[in-house]
Every structure is written in C-alpha cells, then in structure tokens.
C-alpha cells in the first residue's frame, strides 16, 4: 500500500489552516494526527477527515525555559508561553500552543475549558509554515 496519511500531508493541510486526520472506513474510529493503521483493529482502510478544531483542555503548562524554536519565536523567561493537550470534540487528543490565557496566573486556566484551533504562521515566503495552536472559545 502507498501511505498517503503522512506528516507531509498533514502539514500541507495545516498550511491551508485545515486540521485533518484519518478515519477508519470500517469502524469509524478517528485519528488526529492521521494514522495509516488503526491500532485497535489493525485496519489500513482509512480516509481523510477534517476536524472542527474545537475541544476541551486536558493538561497544560507554562514554559519559562523554552525550546530553541520557541526562543526564536520570541518567548523567554519574561515572556513565557502556554502549551497544552486538547481533547478534540471528535475524540482524539492533540498537543498545541495555548493562546489567549493569562500565563502569569496559571490558576485561572481551567482544565475542561473549551478551546478552538487557531493556526499560527511562522517564517517568510516559501519557508512559511503553519503551527497548530488553540485559543479560548
């Protein structure tokens, strides 16, 4: 089989500001990011599915010592960022930058609160890439 459910395909959709995953044609199980094989029934009969991008925050952190990528994006100890895991309404959980929250009052950020996808563009011209983030609904 030729695998079309690749990271490149997911990223290309993300660059179009679409959050895409895969769906098992047999049992309807959904995956985001897309998986080529359903880990439950091991089927590889998949199709693309567009996710609404809405979901609920499951876990988060405020990062003061960031990765090189985030330091390059302008974050540091004085300007920390929130990253979290969101359970999409369709079921899967996914990691993303969390925007629009008070990073200096983490107790104000509630697990279970509703968030929706927001696509962040970084880089110029052909090097421009979109990243998945979430903001409060």
């Amino acid at each position: 089989m030729e695998n079309q459910f690749t990271h490149a395909a997911f990223s290309n959709y993300l660059n179009e500001h679409r959050l895409m995953g895969s769906r098992d044609k047999g049992n309807g199980a959904v995956f985001c990011p897309p998986r080529p094989i359903d880990p439950e029934n091991h089927s590889s009969e998949m199709e693309w599915l567009e996710f609404k991008g809405t979901g609920k925050l499951q876990a988060f952190t405020i990062i003061y010592i960031g990765s090189s990528m985030m330091i390059a994006a302008g974050y540091d100890r004085k300007n920390p960022y929130c990253v979290g895991i969101v359970k999409l309404d369709e079921g899967p959980m996914i990691s993303g930058l969390i925007l629009g929250v008070d990073v200096f009052h983490p107790e104000s950020i509630k697990i279970g609160a509703s968030f929706k996808a927001k696509f962040i563009d970084r880089g110029e011209a052909e090097a421009q890439k979109s990243f998945l983030a979430f903001e409060p609904v």
Partner: protein
Amino acid sequence: MSSHKLARGVALVGAGMSKFGSFKGKTSRDLFVEAFVEMLESVDKGIDQKEIDALYVGNYSSDLFEGQGHIAPIMASWTGLNPVPAVRVEDACASAGVAVREGILAVASGMYDVVVVGGVEKMTDLATEKVTDTLATAADVQYEIPAGFTFPGFYAAMATSYMAAYGATPETFMKVGIKNHENGSMNEKAQFGAKISTLMEARRQSAIKKGLPVPEWDSELEFLHDDKANPIIAWPLRLYDCSPISDGAAVVLLVSEDLAKKYTDHPIIVAGMGQASDGALHDRKELNSIPSARLAGEQAYRMAGITPADVDFAEVHDCFTVAEVIASEDLGFFERGKGWIAAEEGVTSRDGEKPINLSGGLKSKGHPVGASGVGQVVEVFKQLRGQAGPRQKSGPLKYGLTHNVGGTGQTTVVHIFERRD
C-alpha cells in the same frame, strides 16, 4: 504462547558506578572505565575479564551530546573487552534499564554465561538550550515538539492533570524533592548530594559574603516557593522539581544463576521484569498515569509471583518530582490518586513503609539519561546486600524494584531483584 519466564535463572554479581555530576575534561569512555573498574572490584570472589561474553551499553544520544556515534565498541575497547559483541541500546531515558533487560535475556537464552551491562551519558558539554533540544528528540518531533513542548513541560502538563484530578498541589511535589535530597545527602556518588536546607543555607551565606540583601526563609518550603531561589521552569514545576543535567556511568555484571556462586556467596537474583511501549503523551487515554509503567509493573509482579506489598524498596524514575508520585501509583504501591497523600505523609521516606529512591533518585543523585537505569540497579544491588553505607536501609530486605521510564512513558522497563540467601 510465550511463557514470559526466563529459560534459565540470571543473577547479578557485581555493580559499580562513577560519581554522577558535571565533569569537564571527562568523556563517556572515561566515566565508563571508572564504573567498570568499580564493578570488577565489587565481585566478591573476583572475575577474569576473559570470562565476559558480551557487552550491552545503554546510551541515549552520544551522537548529539558528544558528536560520537557507535559508542558500544568504544566502551568495549577502553575496558579491554574487544572483541566481544558490543551492543548499544537506545530507548531514551530508559536506555540503560532496557540494556539490563537485553543482557538478562541474552544470558537466559543460554547464548552467554557472563554479560556486562552498562549505561553512560556525557551531557554537560552542550549549553542548556541544546541539551533541552537534544532531550526533546525523545518525544514526537512531528506532533509534540512543534507545539512548543519541552521535557519539563510534558511532566508539568501531567502534573496539572494530576492536580486537577486528585487535589495535589505544587507543594506535594516540593516535598518529594526535599525527601530525595535528604536521601541523596547520604550518597557520595550524588551530583547534588545535599539537603535542601543545606542548599538554602549555602545561598544565604553566599548573599552575606557578597554583601547582598540576606534572604530570610523560615522553612525549606518557603525557600522552594521563592521565585528567585527556585525559578519556574515549566509551571507548576520549578528548578528543584527537575533532575539535573549530568555526566555519569554505571555498570553491572550478570551471570547465569547456576554460575553465580563462583563469583559471590550473595548473588542477587532477577525475580521479575516487564517492559511496555506507548505513543505520544497526547495519544493516551489518560494523562495522570503512565500506562506502559502499569503494564511493565504487572508483568514483573506476575513473573516474580509477588504483589506490590512485597516490595521492600524501589528506585523509581523521578526525572521530575511529579513523576515519582505517579510512579508510586503505576507500580501499585498506592491506589490511583492516593500517591500524593502517601508522599505528603512520609510513607515513601527512608523510614516509611515503602521507601522510594533511597539513593536520592535521579533528582539528587543526577540523571545522565542513558546511565540512570543501570544506576538504579546498582543501588538495589548494594541495598539488598547491605552495602549501601550510611544510607543503608535496615533489613531484612528481600525485594528491590527498579522503574525506568523513557520519554513520558513511550518506554517503561521494570525489574524486581531478590536476595535469596
């Protein structure tokens, strides 16, 4: 159908480790040699190096940390073991624990009688941000790292999930750190082998010497709440919730059980082991427990024919303080959601019912990632044989458990060791 039993018994008859710390001018091989020689010296009746059949080396990323790949034959060369087969094992921070397992399987298969298993990592040559990036490669670089996650960030996120579910607070995790530093203060091999109270006093003295305003902390907890003394790394985790960046090596000697008495009258027997794998953190059904750790623990208990209550002490993977609390539940020592209460009540302290990380854990002892799993086994070997010096737990001790996690639980490997004599 697999039996999930060893085809023959395997015993631990020697163990050694370098000091863990930050060692300018020492490379992986230098540290590995130190641990190897200490291992040889620990074999009660001695060993002729010619009897060694193979070498397994846990190592996470010498390629990125030191620019040196293909590290196992180099370790064999520098310890005089060439031309025996030398195998590098990589499963992130569980590399060394998995190397122990592979060594056990090799001896149990009958292929080899005598195997050396080591672990080594030299991390401090790189600047902190490069270390952060190197560790991040143990996560999913396609779907986790682009979100901005770091390793402290992953465990901090697990901490928020745990706190929201069960009511623990950041102070719970601070207490784990205080306990592990107390244990580590009795370990001469520890990188930060000082109590938090000692570190706090050192900071005060340093301020006095420099003529700076002298901070007044009433307690260790107050010190740990101070943003200046204990800065936030990834909320709710602060500096003293994180294991350090470390250099170090550890080495153990495994032999078939029927040969053990040739090397010592007090062998330590491999009673049980388990290992499991998993996907990215966001790909699991729950975020405040590590499913692979639960599975690895269950396998190990089943193989050993014991229950969590039978374990006398454990060395668990406290890469971050919250990880120790979660581990104490995943291993069945406490019910889900009750581990933090046990930690607060001192159940896991050295005089408690279930001592955890008598060595000081990764938190105080240090965490040279690809060596830590073997370092845990070294501690269990010493404790079970009554050779742990000032930190020796009073006995009798029969079962010691090690729990070594790679990433956020993409790998967990558990071993149960038993003293039978």
